[in-house]
């Protein structure tokens, strides 16, 4: 869509960095600090530019030039990005139910304003198709929920990442994988929606490694951790239905995950892993953990008359840490004396009983995903931080969604 008399090899690209209410850019402060410390080598080499909403990048190989420039300014996750051209951003915004300038909140820790346009810029960079954008918007609303504790997630020296589970018919419509290999790699929607959320957290919220984001080692889930919940071959109620939403609606569930641990076996195997990989931080803070159950196992349990709550209770009773083992843990000996322990942990200690990994059975969130194979392959997602977090956000579509989808599919309107 270039106008006449424009040079060849020019790309008009949006700036992905958050702006604060007062007009400043989160990079202003971060860049100052980055130049002082330069924690990751060349990362801040290009950060001295005067930020503008849109700039023109010119090169014979302009995609590469935008990529190099954005990388050097610290605006990528290290992987190549799709240049957020004015046209691509406009198309992304078209799939938002709200206008480009709508601000849905301020992202911690630097209080960058999450305007629809700014989120769209990062979604383009992540490689999202425009129709994924309503899911990205819902996810951002999720991390803005106080229960998510975004400030903690962004700045802690632990390595927590948002876990994004999409439920409802939209997951299938958009091709968000809930089946074989759902945690990747290989699925465009899973890969790019989760990545968009990360780029938004980094660029709009201002979480820069070593400056405001102190995660000690990081983890692959900080690139993306997004999958769908099984709709078919799910004998139980979906997460969004459990949250009181209609089955025909779609929603994202956001939790905080320290990692994902594959467990092949039955519920006792799961309980054993959950107890030993107890993420002592969920004991320290009181947390909410997620358990992905393989479809075949879910079918078998359901056939025996088990509800999800039965599964949670079973795991809650068995996933426990022997009290002596707990007392010798680093968290217990080095951290707990300063921070104190939740009353339910103190009670368990006093009774010399094994220590539960969460306070209530309901803090173990169960959902069904994975391949239609007989192998019972489950996943345990330990958590970090407080308060217990299980945020469910309905996905809102633009009023002309059907027409937009048809147009995108090339069938015209």
């Amino acid at each position: 869509m270039s106008a006449p008399h424009e040079s060849r090899g020019t790309q008009w690209v949006h700036n992905p960095v958050g702006r604060q209410r007062g007009g400043g850019w989160v990079d202003d402060a971060l860049g100052d600090r980055g130049r002082e410390t330069d924690p990751v080598g060349m990362r801040f080499a290009g950060a001295r530019v005067v930020p503008q909403r849109v700039e023109a990048v010119r090169s014979a190989d302009v995609d590469a030039a935008v990529n190099e420039c954005f990388y050097r300014r610290g605006w990528t996750d290290g992987l190549p990005i799709v240049p957020p051209t004015v046209g691509r951003v406009r198309e992304m915004v078209r799939f938002s139910p709200e206008s480009a300038s709508t601000v849905i909140g301020e992202l911690e820790p630097m209080h960058g304003e999450a305007s629809v346009e700014k989120l769209a810029v990062n979604a383009v960079m992540a490689g999202c198709r425009p129709e994924y954008f309503p899911v990205v918007l819902a996810a951002v609303r999720g991390i803005l929920d106080p229960r998510f504790n975004l400030r903690g997630v962004q700045t802690t020296d632990e390595n927590v990442a948002p876990l994004l589970i999409v439920s409802g018919p939209l997951a299938e419509e958009l091709g968000i994988n809930a089946g074989i290999g759902a945690l990747g790699p290989g699925w465009h929607a899973n890969a790019t929606i989760g990545r968009a959320l990360r780029l938004i957290m980094n660029n709009v919220g201002g979480a820069w490694p070593g400056i405001t984001s102190l995660a000690g080692i990081g983890q692959p889930a900080r690139y993306t951790l997004c999958l769908a919940e099984r709709t078919h071959a799910n004998p139980w109620r979906s997460l969004h239905v459990e949250a009181g939403l209609p089955a025909e609606s779609s929603a994202v569930t956001l939790m905080r995950a320290e990692c994902s641990i594959n467990v092949t076996g039955d519920l006792d195997d799961l309980a054993s892993v959950m107890a030993s990989a107890a993420s002592a931080f969920s004991i320290l803070h009181g947390g909410c953990v997620a358990v992905l159950i393989a479809p075949a196992t879910a079918a078998r349990l359901s056939g025996m008359g088990w509800s999800k709550l039965n599964v949670s209770r079973y795991l809650f009773e068995r996933a426990r840490l022997p009290v002596d083992e707990w007392r010798s843990l680093w968290v217990r000996t080095k951290i707990a004396p300063t921070y104190g322990l939740p009353p339910w942990v103190v009670a368990a200690e006093d009774g010399n009983g094994p220590i539960p990994i969460v306070e209530h059975a309901e803090d173990i969130v169960v959902f069904v995903a994975g391949a239609d194979v007989p192998i019972p392959q489950h996943v345990y997602f330990p958590s970090w931080g407080f308060p217990p977090c299980r945020v469910v956000v309905p996905i809102t579509l633009p009023s002309d969604w059907v027409r937009l989808r048809h147009a995108a599919a090339g069938s015209g309107d």
Binding site: H5, S7, T10, G24, A29, V50, Q52, V54, A56, M110
Partner: protein, 468 residues
């Protein structure tokens, strides 16, 4: 921790936040994000987790305590400068179309093409003021950006002004920055728009239209200076729709109105600017924000007595909620403007009436029942809380006696506080008997006049400019 300190600091109390050595950088960046970049931080050496009680006590006493005292006893300015291009930076190089796109995408234009503000063009504008380009006239709210001779010239170029308009642009920005005008309110929801009025010999020297179509586009001086006003509000004051310009509907900028000074001289009436203190024969601009406008068509009559009732009726009809600026919210700041075409002005003057007589007439005759006045300010609206009657407001000394002569809801009250609050201008088609009324936005864009200061050798420079 920092969040608590930021909240306390914002409430006006000094704070000191204890931060371990390894977290100082994060604290600095975070306090900036919290909007208090200079939050008081007292460093704790090392980390207490690995220090004995004795070590910790020694560290606190020798390092931290001193900083705590300093944080609590010194003040600092929390404002942070935005990183923006320096005045002479070339922000973009490209073709004409690319420049248009760049300025539009960065929200620096109003959607129409701008004239690229090249250094040459800016220099030409600067040659029409005897002031340093770097001179800061004021800081302009909302963005608290410096208004400089340089950025006036840049926006003047962009708006399509001619270099010789520069002295007028400078006067306009001086008026904009005058606290009496209240530029900080320019993003309010009524979305009132400024009307610039110009007086003085410059009207003819620079070719302003002051006759037929006085408020119409099509005349470079009137049009481009009107556009400059809006571009300056956008680019320097920082008012952008969908951001901090919350005008519900808004309106396009108004072209500059030049008065017909020949008619005014003929009938012996003062100009708008001379009514506000400008010495006769001098050049000046007056700015004020108006919430709406209406044309009063076919004023019929051969005398003031026959013409004025229609005009008084128009003043009543086109004034509504704005009465909260007369009594209530900002008492005495409602200053509507009535523009008379020369032929109407002459007819009225021929009856022996001065401008002050017209103002007095409107004050006496443009009146409405007290209950209707109260409907506008607090009955149909919630502009004045408390639902107090005009009578009560007079008793509370919040309104003058004329609004509370009795408790009778049908008693007639005036629309302004004083006769001179009616501003009268003369412009438009000299031979058509139409008039024009502008309802006013009170203290949120109060009439403000500034003289226009011409550079040395103005006539020589102007001749040179027009000779090219």
């Amino acid at each position: 921790m920092l969040r608590v300190s930021a909240a306390v600091e914002s409430a006006g109390f000094p704070t000191a936040t204890l931060i371990c050595e390894g977290f100082l950088g994060q604290a600095k960046a975070t306090s900036s994000g919290l909007g208090v970049p200079t939050l008081g931080i007292a460093m704790v050496p090392g980390h207490p987790d690995v220090q004995s009680a004795v070590e910790l006590e020694r560290n606190i006493a020798s390092v931290t305590l001193e900083r705590v005292v300093a944080c609590l006893t010194t003040t600092s300015n929390g404002a942070r400068h935005l990183v923006e291009p320096a005045p002479r930076d070339v922000v973009f190089e490209g073709t004409f179309d690319e420049v248009q796109r760049f300025f539009y995408e960065n929200l620096w234009s109003d959607g129409l093409p701008i004239v690229p503000p090249t250094r040459d063009r800016v220099d030409a504008f600067l040659s029409f003021v005897d002031r340093s380009p770097d001179e800061v006239l004021a800081t302009v709210q909302l963005d608290n950006r410096a208004a400089t001779i340089w950025n006036i010239a840049v926006n003047g170029v962009m708006a399509g002004c001619r270099p010789e308009y520069m002295p007028i642009l400078v006067a306009l920005v001086e008026a904009m920055a005058d606290p009496a005008y209240g530029v900080e309110h320019s993003g309010n929801t009524p979305g009132a728009e400024t009307q610039i009025v110009i007086n003085g010999p410059l009207i003819k020297d620079l070719g302003f239209n002051y006759e037929q179509g006085a408020l119409r586009d099509g005349f470079q001086a009137n049009t481009s200076i009107g556009r400059f006003w809006r571009l300056y509000l956008r680019n320097v004051a920082g008012f952008l729709p969908h951001q901090n310009d919350k005008g519900t509907f808004g309106g396009t900028w108004r072209v500059v109105m030049a008065e017909n000074e020949d008619t005014l001289a003929e009938i012996g009436w003062p100009t708008v600017c001379s009514g506000m203190g400008l010495p006769p024969g001098q050049n000046g601009v007056c700015i004020a924000r108006y919430t709406g406008s209406h044309v009063i068509v076919s004023v019929y009559g051969t005398s003031a007595e026959e013409c004025l009732p229609y005009l008084a009726d128009a003043v009543v009809k086109y004034t509504g909620w704005e009465l909260m600026f007369t009594v209530g919210m900002a008492t005495g700041t409602y200053k509507p403007m009535l523009i008379l075409s020369p032929i109407v002005a002459k007819t009225i003057a021929a009856s022996g009436m001065t401008k002050a007589d017209v103002q007095a007439y409107l004050f006496e005759h443009a009146r409405i029942p007290a209950r209707q006045f109260e409907n506008y300010i607090s009955g149909w609206t919630n502009l004045i809380p408390g639902k107090r009657s005009l009578y009560d407001l007079v008793m509370l000394r919040k309104a003058p006696q004329v609004f509370g002569a009795s408790r009778d809801p049908e008693r007639l009250v005036p629309l302004v506080l004083r006769p001179e609050d009616y501003m009268i201008a003369v412009s438009g088609d000299p031979m058509r008997t139409n008039c024009y009324f502008l309802a006013h936005n009170g203290m949120l864009g109060f009439p403000t006049m500034k003289p226009i200061v011409l550079p040395r050798d103005w006539s020589t420079r102007l001749r040179a400019a027009y000779a090219e």
